[in-house]
Point group: C2
Chain length 490, copies 2
């Protein structure tokens, strides 16, 4: 991440509304322009780290609120586990350490002294949590254990991008233990379902659910499930994963329980998580050349009232705007922008850039007609609404915008999902317009590796309930085993 | 923290209700027994760290919910700043680095390589946040900046105690910037007031508000304000602090703004925080020899329904209990304990130990009489209430318990606050019954240092609006400058 971008001066800052690079010109620059100019984040003095500014953090708080409710409704409780993991614990599970050791940060000194054993700053918490679970679980009566934690994690990434891949990020990680393999499998799929429903309902992001290949699965997992979204540049983004850990960790961390049949057994485990990269997904799925577009259910501000203040009618319009704000706030998240040092036009641009779903304009003439003007962020449509009718109209409009954003994103995905059996055509699509490519696959690692090398695309998932569209593998032509969604990804 | 305590076996675990050491026998052991046996926390494999288990974390979630609401109502927004602080940033402010450098954890390796500059795991975030503020603030229009963050921090403590002093802990830290000294002072005092009101209203913990001495103030602050509670063993506990940072940090981090008068000025700053040590305060202020006592407003479970299930009346009682739980849950946090593998008596002990404010007993005879029995955790009083009257009676009873807990704690503090001018008597009190001692003080560092050396007590605060009770300094007999609350502390 480039440091300079965050250090622009004041003069530039005030000009921001004109300064978003169009997506067609440079998508990456558009993304960076949007998040800096809306003050969602800023670059940190430590490589790959960022500050999430109040405007960005408010989105994360909504994600937390709406997802945490679902996590609790499915019977989970929150807890907090230590940030530091002793080296010896991380090293217990071979696949896991191999997957994470190259990208961890090490604490080697504390309180002025060199530590006898180096500590890892958690890249994920399986190792430390399993250590606790081995002591907390003794009997089948202690199961299931259904715990989630919201926390920061650190992965020393080489190539970073704000929200999408940062050295430190925020996430939730669920860690559960079960009596049987079937229960663990049910849990892993249930939480994937929670993610899918959350993403589609609250974030208006349609996702494809499926299983990761052996090559792409979580280090130490039996099976990894994923939900994959499609960004507006045609790249896929892994929005959340859920792992059936089998008994791998239970065996190395000795998580055993006395079952009802008096046999000592290893627990079956799952883990699952989503992170602040969801904010990146939100920006890239819904944003346009004027900036952010927030889905109403997640938007920290659902509607902004911009009073049009002429000298003569100032007091009356302001009073009416304040009364309206108060009424609407009973049910909705409404901001009144009554700053007098900025013009209405400047404010329109500002709140459009920040993606507020509905703008409510209110001037002296509207007051005379006892009406307000509503302007949708997603379509730009304007409508006049009688003031008295607004408390009924606004929620309906917000729901319509929410639905429209989802449908738009779904249409985009459908238009950018191709299928076929011609490898050269596939490679060209991945190079040109990208998107998803639904193909048949023989299931062999060789073909998967070849695709990545040839096209930089990867198998995003083996979708549930989708048959192989062709008889033969896209890559080698051997008999196909299953369907696979391929894409370039973040 | 001793590791062994967390590793007791299952047999012991089931016997926990009998196993709390009485406070009079060994207060420290009582504290550890309570938090382990109620499963609030467990010791981590890293020295001085802990896991906060779901039962303890639910308390932290309530603290967050109720305090976050107040922080937002006073105009603040949440954000998130990086965990890692480059060494050079921490070292910018001399007093600050001197205060924190001896107790920080250092990251020296990342991604397999030795870092060119070591990173500090934040012990507090003034340095990193000021670095951002220096870029975010240019004009008086950018002020005030009113930001808070909830996060983890690390201080490499030598002597640790669960919740009270741990190497890693959770907290909130507010960081604000203002145009004038008066505004910063007002903010620092306002947030101290928020803490006091929160502690007294929600946690039922009376606190004394005042100013810290020069010796005890935050490293780098102009003035530190504090709220101090009294634990049931007579020790004081600093429950929250609020600092007027003056322009110290603004000068070294170059946080300047162009004021309305076209002069470039340094911002005036504050910071303020409370941490998971509040959970320790909660336990030590209200707990008794049977375990925890939760103030109803903060209690994750406000009432527990224990149905008394005989073979004959099982179904009817269970159905009635479930219906009751459903009704009460509309307004209150109510748990139905319908486990059949435990006896009602066992459950009574369990929920008493866990401090649930009200137990609702419901057996076949109560069903016949169309009543339930309410039992208060704080006084043990029982009352029969007609079932139909419960939705009205229960909230009133919870309010009465909340009030009683506060009044009990206040009475305890009053009974354990002495005053006087005899130094030897003071020293004896600090050794024997402890508590607060309100004294007159000359204001000199020598006397403050002598008190600590002689008695291990410290000046907890210079209280607001309290005159020096005697003409002369308790220690040296010179002319008194101000009043001071002295106590041994956590």
């Amino acid at each position: 991440m480039e440091q300079q971008a965050g250090r622009e001066n004041e003069a530039q800052k005030k000009e921001f509304v004109k300064e978003i690079t169009p997506r067609a010109v440079d998508y990456s620059q558009w993304y960076v322009d949007v998040i800096l100019k809306t003050e969602m984040m800023d670059y940190a003095p430590v490589k790959g780290c960022m500050a999430i500014r109040p405007f960005g953090f408010a989105v994360w708080e909504k994600i937390q609120e709406l997802l945490d409710r679902r996590i609790k409704e499915t019977g989970h409780q929150n807890a907090y586990f230590p940030l530091f993991i002793p080296q010896s614990l991380l090293q217990k599970e071979a696949e896991h350490v191999e997957g994470f050791a190259p990208e961890v940060a090490w604490v080697t000194k504390g309180g002025g002294e060199v530590l006898s054993e180096p500590l890892v700053v958690r890249p994920t918490s399986e190792a430390i949590i399993c250590d606790f679970y081995s002591r907390w679980i003794q009997s089948w009566r202690d199961l299931p254990v259904l715990i989630n934690q919201w926390c920061n994690v650190v992965r020393w990434e080489k190539a970073t991008r704000p929200f999408l891949r940062t050295s430190e990020f925020l996430w939730q990680e669920g860690h559960t233990c079960h009596r049987t393999e079937a229960e663990a499998e049910e849990e892993a799929l249930k939480m994937l379902g929670v993610y899918k429903e959350f993403l589609e309902t609250e974030m208006a992001i349609p996702v494809i659910a499926g299983r990761k290949t052996e090559r792409e699965k979580f280090a130490g997992a039996l099976r990894t499930y994923t939900v994959e979204g499609l960004m507006s540049d045609g790249r896929a983004l892994q929005a959340g994963t859920s792992h059936n850990l089998g008994q791998h960790f239970a065996r190395v961390f000795d998580i055993t329980f006395m079952d009802q049949d008096d046999q000592l057994k290893h627990a079956w485990q799952t883990s699952w998580g989503v992170s602040t990269r969801l904010i990146g997904a939100l920006i890239m799925v819904h944003g346009d050349d004027r900036g952010l577009v927030m889905p109403p259910r997640l938007a920290p501000i659902q509607a902004v009232i911009v009073p049009i203040l002429s000298k003569k009618a100032r007091d009356g319009v302001l009073a009416a705007a304040r009364a309206l704000a108060e009424t609407l706030r009973r049910d909705l998240r409404v901001k009144l922008d009554d700053r007098e040092e900025y013009s209405p036009g400047w404010k329109y641009n500002e709140w459009e850039m920040r993606g507020v779903p509905v703008r409510i304009e209110m001037g002296p003439r509207d007051l005379e007609k006892d009406q307000v003007i509503l302007v949708r962020r997603d379509t730009g449509e304007r409508e006049a609404v009688p003031r008295g009718g607004l408390p009924a109209r606004l929620p309906a409009l917000l729901e319509a915008i929410q639905r429209n954003l989802f449908e738009q994103a779904l249409k985009f995905r459908q238009a950018h999902t191709r299928s076929g059996s011609d490898y050269r055509e596939f490679a060209e699509i991945m190079e040109r317009e990208r998107g998803f490519f639904l193909a048949s696959w023989c299931g062999r690692n060789e073909c998967e590796a070849k695709v990545k090398e040839d096209t930089r695309a990867t198998i995003r998932c083996i979708p549930f309930d989708v048959r192989a569209p062709h008889a033969n593998c896209l890559v080698c032509g051997r008999k196909a085993k299953e369907a696979a969604y391929l894409a370039r990804s973040y």
